[in-house]
């Protein structure tokens, strides 16, 4: 788990650093059909909620040519006042958006984004010290969460980037999700709990470049 969090941290910082280190697009050094090095993220995002932080910032990649499958890596923060201790979360999301609907020249809608996320929380108070519990004393992890989510995205198309001819995009999105523990809770208690009880909401903005 320590390795995984380290990887996620490094990956997100590396991608941000790579973005920062890239000189402003001049249109000379980049070819329209391959504008990005593989490690250079295709978008940045900022969100709140969804169990991934009061604030979570991240970078992500388009995983296919159709650009409807994305991987996002986020680092989130929850202050002690709300989380009981200061929490840092490293998360990964894979999102699939089957439809892209143009609304006007400058607006397009992704009516459905369906995805899965995984998150690791660092900084909890009772964090299972070695030897504290016998094996499988608790079957669940207090730090690792995963779950599904469904959402939509509204994209504003800005002026095209000279190098690629692709429009700059700024999107606003929301995601309704849940996590493994909430789903397990609901599964055995369809009378005592409702679907609404186990939902979380994330709101965010995303910039493609």
């Amino acid at each position: 788990m320590k390795k995984l969090i380290l990887f996620l941290w490094l990956a997100s910082f590396a991608s941000l650093a790579a973005r920062a280190a890239t000189p402003p697009t001049s249109g000379l050094g980049l070819r329209a059909d391959n504008p990005h090095k593989w490690y250079r993220p295709t978008h940045l995002q900022l969100q709140t909620g969804g169990g991934l932080g009061m604030v979570a910032a991240g970078a992500g990649y388009d995983l296919n040519k159709k650009k409807n499958l994305e991987l996002d890596i986020l680092v989130g923060y929850v202050p002690k006042h709300y989380g009981g201790s200061t929490l840092t979360l490293a998360s990964a999301k894979v999102m699939y958006s089957p439809w892209r609907v143009p609304i006007s020249e400058k607006l397009e809608l992704l009516p459905l984004t369906a995805g899965l996320y995984f998150s690791y929380t660092h900084g909890t108070i009772n964090d299972e010290l070695p030897g504290q519990y016998s094996k499988d004393y608790y079957w669940f992890s207090t730090d690792t969460r995963y779950g599904p989510m469904l959402g939509s995205r509204l994209t504003f198309l800005g002026p095209p980037i000279a190098a690629t001819g692709q429009p700059r995009k700024i999107s606003a999105y929301y995601e309704l999700g849940s996590n493994d523990l909430y789903i397990v809770s609901y599964a055995g208690n369809t009378k005592g709990l409702s679907i609404g009880d186990i939902l979380t909401l994330a709101l965010g903005v995303k910039v493609d470049f």
């Binding site: 709140t48 909620g49 969804g50 169990g51 991934l52 932080g53 009061m54 989130g76 929850v78 709300y82 989380g83 009981g84 201790s85 929490l87 979360l89 439809w99 609907v101 809608l109 992704l110 009516p111 459905l112 929380t121 909890t124 108070i125 009772n126 964090d127 010290l129 504290q132 519990y133 608790y138 669940f140 207090t142 730090d143 969460r145 469904l150 959402g151 939509s152 929301y174 309704l176 996590n179 523990l181 909430y182 397990v184 809770s185 055995g188 208690n189 369809t190 009378k191 005592g192 709990l193 609404g196 009880d197 186990i198 939902l199 979380t200 909401l201 994330a202 709101l203």
Partner: protein, 277 residues
């Protein structure tokens, strides 16, 4: 999929999200450890206690309460339990829940349990369990239910509720807090008798081995102790654990579909009736 249908999907999802976001249910959750809840779900033990103490036991009435425990992730059963107690137990003054209110120590779970138990006709009081202390359960439980160690006097009886979940503190020698317990036992605050409630009983491997004897001895030395009550084992048990005259009563878990009605009278007499629901 036509444009109209796609738009409809998007609109519906968006509408759902907007409804939920404005419903005041803290759906924009920062983390599962995020313990923000509406004010009505904070400080629940104190709120229930205020309700209880507002109606003191009339002189000559018998002290009677329901004893249960381990509500963890048994929300369907919680609903049945509430219905059963409300229908059948017209002569109890309150309900005691012996810890493990939640299963994963998360705020939402504690709120879900309260959403059921607040439908009881009488107030309910809880003590913290080991399942309420994982991760950031400690501040979460404190925020939603209240102090981990507390006491109150009702019906000429002092109730002492203490955190005995030593393993969650990695056996640091301070849980249960013996100094606090001894001070509480020494001062009856005018009550005729005392009852100690905890989650993990001292004969369990999750109780700090270094504190088993001091704890048991403190209880045994208390002349007006009615009994000690605990949860954790998910199994009804009543009797002495040591040859020291102290009776330990282990509650049923919500999943056992049983609860107990405890009647207390005299200097330290009590009776337990087990009821199926």
């Amino acid at each position: 999929m036509s444009l109209k249908n796609t738009l409809r999907v998007g609109l519906r999802l968006g509408w759902c999200a907007a409804l939920l976001a404005t419903a005041g249910c803290n759906i924009i959750e920062f983390s599962p450890n995020d313990h923000r809840v509406p004010d009505e779900f904070t400080d629940l033990n104190q709120k229930n206690l205020t309700r209880l103490l507002a109606k003191p036991l009339p002189a000559g009435d018998t002290l009677r309460f329901v004893f249960t425990g381990d509500s963890q992730r048994f929300y369907d059963q919680a609903e049945d339990l509430v219905k059963a107690i409300n229908e059948r137990e017209k002569n109890v003054q309150f309900v005691l829940v012996a810890g493990d209110i939640s299963d994963f120590s998360l705020a939402r779970e504690m709120k879900w349990v309260d959403q059921q138990l607040r439908k009881l006709n009488v107030p309910y009081l809880t003590v913290v369990g080991n399942h309420d202390l994982n991760g950031n359960g400690r501040p979460t439980f404190e925020h939603i239910y209240g102090a981990l160690d507390y006491s109150f006097v009702y019906g000429d009886t002092k109730f002492i509720l203490i955190d005995t979940n030593s393993r969650e503190y990695n056996f640091n020698g301070q849980i249960p807090d013996m100094g606090w317990l001894n001070a509480q036992l020494a001062n009856t605050e005018g009550a005729r008798r005392q009852i100690v409630m905890m989650h993990v009983p001292p004969d369990n491997e999750d109780f700090d081995p270094a504190l088993v004897s001091p704890f048991a001895n403190s209880l045994a030395r208390t002349p007006n102790l009615v009994c000690a009550m605990n949860g954790h084992n998910h199994a009804y048990r009543i009797g002495p654990l040591y040859n020291d005259g102290v009776t330990y009563v282990n509650s049923d878990a919500f999943s056992e579909k049983h609860y107990m009605v405890v009647t207390v009278w005299g200097d330290k007499q009590f009776r337990v009736k087990r009821v199926a629901f």
